[in-house]
């Protein structure tokens, strides 16, 4: 069909309509990266305000808006999409597939996330951002004046739908599209963690969707789910939020575990130590992740029985996590460890995450949490696991897979500067916060009196934040420098072990010319050790079936974006808002109709073209 000639159309059109997992991965990375910078800027504003006692740089409601948007942006608009970027860029390649199971859905998931994120951030320019914390506890969130929290609810609802689609897509992809011989117990660990994370998304996000609907009805249609005066109950929101929110923590950290497992093994030139234990630990963490949500609610007054049960369940998670830490260390044991930037971030991750883990166990001791809860101790803890864990993992993955995603290798010297400034800045920022919490500084406070003696540690913390900022700036410079030079690298620059390194650079549109035959864990390494040049093909060269590009996902998401704006203003703007709601949902429905009505069978890349492209390959 004609779509093979899409290249004739403009570059912009190509990116708007793409259903190629590699390009969608890049779209996720760029937009997630942009929101990461926005969230980082918000963090910096917070640290400036807290630099000394009784500062007046950013106070009251504006401070609350910034802290809410910092948390919300970092979790939903930075961390999640960057994880999806890697899942898109890597998982189909690691399992030897030509794309994800549902390429159209993949594109739709991205655009929904993107428009949801834009909608949420529009609040800055339309009268004020949400100010009830990223947790949006009712009734503070239901009573919050202005439209800030409406933007939060509608923006995240749209973006969350995209995430749910992505999760389902990767579950189906990993179950159905593995190459011949790629059994579950031969899957690379990153694919395993992507699989478990997708499962968690499938079960956790619907809870959030329901919660957002209840909150939306309370705010926009005057329902009373959370209003105690009308017989509602504010604690229900906390339960719903954390039934989503705790698995969300594992949705975030498991892919980072996967990245570390890949990187540490590759640069140690060793097989991952205790692979099956690692897989089992991943699954167990995912399962236990659903059993511990109430540890965010120890001070809510659930009673000693509930608190004890959730305390012990939470402690149990330390066991599979410990298994992972020791297996990483023993992967490095006896290896020939090369400390590239990617590996530096992975190796930096290990002690940092252990520190976040031990404070996690301390927090699990329910009564001790009566002191830690909502203090800077908790702030320190979750930044140790999310920044020290997840973000270091993401940096590691980025340096590691950058040649695969973009065909160029990030500068190693700048990379090392990036690592050391960010790593030292991170510890400087968050280590003192443990003590601030114990010394009685509650979280989400925009100021503190001089007499409380919290000034010097806060000052150190702010200096650290500047270090992290420098690290991030070096990273951005690194990207610019790397692309300006544009030195192409080979398809396998790290002497990789897994299938994503078995293709030439740049990765062909169809990934694998011939679906590879997988003969064990670390499929590519096995072939290398057997003296083969590449993977053994599992099929002769034949026509390759590819999906067509489509603009429908973009238009459909735009429709829901417009409808979301309409809902936000439905009580204040009247008719125009109503038109936006009906029009926006109408656009979405028309797109759905078109998608169902038009038969789209995709197109084939013919064998002859493939052979011309790949001269010298045996048919």
């Amino acid at each position: 069909m004609s779509n093979a000639h899409a290249a004739n159309k403009s570059v912009l059109w190509d990116w708007l309509t793409t259903v190629d997992h590699k390009k969608i991965g890049i779209l996720y990375l760029i937009s997630g990266g942009f929101f990461f910078l926005v969230g980082g800027l918000e963090a910096l504003l917070i640290r400036i305000q807290l630099m000394g006692p009784e500062m007046t740089f950013l106070t009251g409601d504006l401070y609350n808006q910034v802290l809410t948007m910092h948390g919300t942006t970092m979790i939903f608009l930075a961390a999640m999409p960057i994880i999806f970027a890697f899942m898109n860029a890597v998982v189909p390649l690691q399992i030897g597939a030509r794309d994800v199971a549902f390429p159209f859905l993949n594109s739709l998931g991205f655009w929904l996330f993107f428009f949801g994120g834009v909608l949420l951030n529009l609040s800055w320019f339309l009268g004020g951002a949400p100010d009830a914390g990223w947790t949006a506890y009712a009734p503070l969130s239901t009573q919050s004046s202005g439209h800030g929290v409406d933007f939060y609810v509608l923006g995240l609802q749209i973006s969350g739908a995209g995430t749910l689609m992505g999760g389902i897509n990767f579950l189906v992809t990993i179950i159905n599209m593995r190459a011949p011989g790629m059994t579950f117990m031969r899957m690379p660990l990153f694919t395993w963690t992507a699989f478990v994370t997708s499962g968690l998304i499938l079960f956790a996000f619907p809870a959030l969707t329901i919660g957002f609907f209840l909150l939306m009805f309370d705010r926009i249609f005057e329902a009373n789910f959370f209003d105690a005066n009308m017989g509602g109950n504010a604690i229900i929101w906390e339960h719903i939020f954390w039934i989503f929110g705790h698995p969300e923590v594992y949705i975030l950290i498991l892919p980072a575990f996967g990245i570390i497992s890949e990187v540490v093994a590759t640069f140690a030139k060793k097989r991952l130590f205790g692979y099956s234990a690692m897989v089992f630990a991943t699954v167990l963490i995912g399962f236990l992740g659903f059993m511990v949500w109430a540890h965010h609610m120890f001070t809510v007054g659930l009673g000693p029985v509930a608190n004890s049960i959730f305390a012990v369940a939470t402690m149990a998670i330390a066991i599979p996590t410990g298994v992972k830490i020791f297996n990483w260390i023993f992967t490095m044991w006896g290896g020939r460890n090369r400390f590239t930037t990617a590996n530096l971030f992975s190796v930096g991750f290990i002690p940092t995450f252990v520190m976040g883990g031990v404070t996690g166990v301390m927090l699990a001791a329910a009564p001790a949490d009566y002191q830690y809860h909502d203090s800077y101790f908790v702030v320190a803890h979750f930044h140790y696991v999310i920044v020290g864990g997840l973000i270091l993992g993401l940096f590691s993955g980025l340096y590691y897979w950058y040649p695969r995603m973009f065909g160029v290798m990030l500068n190693e010297t700048l990379g090392k500067w990036n690592f050391w400034t960010f790593f030292i800045g991170f510890h400087l920022t968050f280590f003192p916060q443990h003590f601030l919490g114990l010394m009685g500084m509650p979280r989400r406070y925009f100021t503190y009196p001089e007499e409380f003696q919290l000034g010097s540690l806060n000052f150190i913390s702010t200096i650290g934040a500047i270090g992290m900022t420098v690290g991030t700036i070096i990273f951005v410079i690194n990207i610019i420098v790397t692309h300006a030079k544009g030195e192409k690298v080979s398809g396998d620059p790290w002497d990789g072990r897994t299938l994503e390194w078995a293709m030439p650079n740049p990765t062909p549109h169809y990934n694998f010319l011939q679906t590879p035959l997988v003969r064990g864990l670390d499929a590519l390494w096995i072939e290398k050790m057997a003296g083969n040049k590449g993977m053994t093909p599992a099929e002769p060269i034949g026509d390759i079936h590819m999906p067509n590009n489509s603009i429908l996902p973009f238009v459909m998401s735009l429709g829901f974006f417009i409808a979301g704006l309409g809902f936000i203003y439905i009580n204040t703007a009247g008719l125009p808002a109503l038109i936006a709601v009906i029009g926006g949902i109408g656009i979405g429905l028309v797109c759905m109709f078109l998608r169902s009505w038009i038969d789209d069978h995709g197109y084939h890349i013919h064998k002859e073209d493939l052979l011309k492209e790949n001269k010298g390959v045996d048919a």
């Binding site: 009734p139 504010a234 329910a366 909502d374």
Partner: protein, 332 residues
């Protein structure tokens, strides 16, 4: 680890416990920290050894042995953490039940103190952005400053008039949320062991002035506490000295419908009985006449988002009001 003790401001720091609850929590924190330090040391030593010993050396291009794993080791680093966690889990569960207010624990405390009616009860109600303390059996209501007798257990009922707040006195006990709605009232106990003034705070994001919702805790000897209760009970609105009659008049016309003094007044805003003895104005400013005037004049600048309206008093009225408020002492 011992360096942790004595960190921070002694009125505020959870590391300097001055009450039974905070002491129990401190012990648990130290126990968990001790176990975790053992874990950290083991991991860091192994990790450091690997980093030094197994780095790539120049010219070495041997391929390391592709070890699959080791069952013995996997069992070892599963079993040892289980034991460590059990050591922590048992005191965790015990402390959880010790700190809860149950009927059984209420009785025990009654026997120990030999009191006729068991532990005293205080109702704490959180508002945006101030605290109301009611002593229901004594018929006393105060705000922003919580008075407690030393070495005595007090049961506290926690609720909220608006959004969720959290009641936290780090030196005396852990925190607990104050939830809106009668069904969600929480109970906890306080048992201060040292006379002095301590700092309390709100620990759950509750709006614009969340960071300004401090309160003071005054722990007194039993006799002094009883005397304070007596004098609070005996304070009457009409006790005000005649030289501040002008201020009282302004107060009566503008403030009394929300603020109670002695036996008169509403309960929308903080009760002001004994206001002259407070340590702070509005919980955050130093207690002096200028700050009182400033607060009445610009409540929204000082605590953004609070519910006190702006009255546009002139300078003379402000002076009179402040003079009156500074005479709000409890009865002899």
């Amino acid at each position: 680890m011992l360096g942790l003790m004595g960190c921070g401001n002694p009125q505020l720091s959870a590391l300097q416990p001055q009450g039974k609850g905070a002491s129990a929590l401190f012990d648990l924190m130290i126990l968990s920290l001790a176990i975790m330090v053992v874990v950290l040391v083991v991991v860091f030593i192994l990790f450091g050894y690997v980093l030094v010993k197994f780095r790539e050396r120049k010219g070495d291009d041997t391929i390391p042995e592709q070890v699959e794993g080791n069952h013995m080791l996997e069992v070892l680093w599963t079993a040892i953490p289980i034991v460590l966690l059990l050591v922590l889990a048992v005191p965790t569960v015990m402390t959880t039940f010790d700190l809860a207010v149950s009927e059984k624990s209420a009785e025990e405390s009654k026997d120990a103190s030999g009191d006729k009616e068991g532990p005293m009860t205080i109702n704490v109600t959180a508002h945006q952005y101030w605290w109301e303390f009611e002593y229901p059996d004594q018929g006393v209501i105060t705000s922003q400053e919580l008075y407690l007798p030393v070495d005595e257990r007090v049961n506290v009922n926690l609720s909220s008039a608006d959004v969720i707040h959290s009641f936290w006195i780090p030196t005396i006990s852990g925190k607990m949320d104050t939830n809106p709605g009668d069904k969600l009232e929480n109970k906890m106990w306080l048992h201060p062991e040292k006379v002095g003034t301590f700092q309390g705070a709100c620990a759950e994001l509750c709006g614009d002035s969340h960071a300004l919702m401090y309160f003071k805790v005054k722990v007194l000897e039993k006799e002094e506490f009883d005397a304070w209760i007596e004098s609070m009970k005996n304070t009457k609105y009409d006790d005000a000295p005649s030289q501040v009659a002008e201020g009282q008049k302004i107060f009566e016309n503008n403030c009394l419908s929300c603020h109670a003094v002695g036996d008169k007044g509403g309960n929308v805003g903080p009760a002001l009985t004994g206001f002259a003895d407070n340590e702070k104005v509005a919980g955050i400013l130093e207690h002096n006449k200028d700050n009182i005037k400033d607060w009445i004049n610009n409540p929204q600048d000082i605590k953004p988002g609070n519910n006190m309206p702006d009255f546009n008093f002139n300078e003379q009225q402000l002076d009179a009001l402040a003079d009156y408020l500074l005479e709000l002492k409890t009865a002899e």
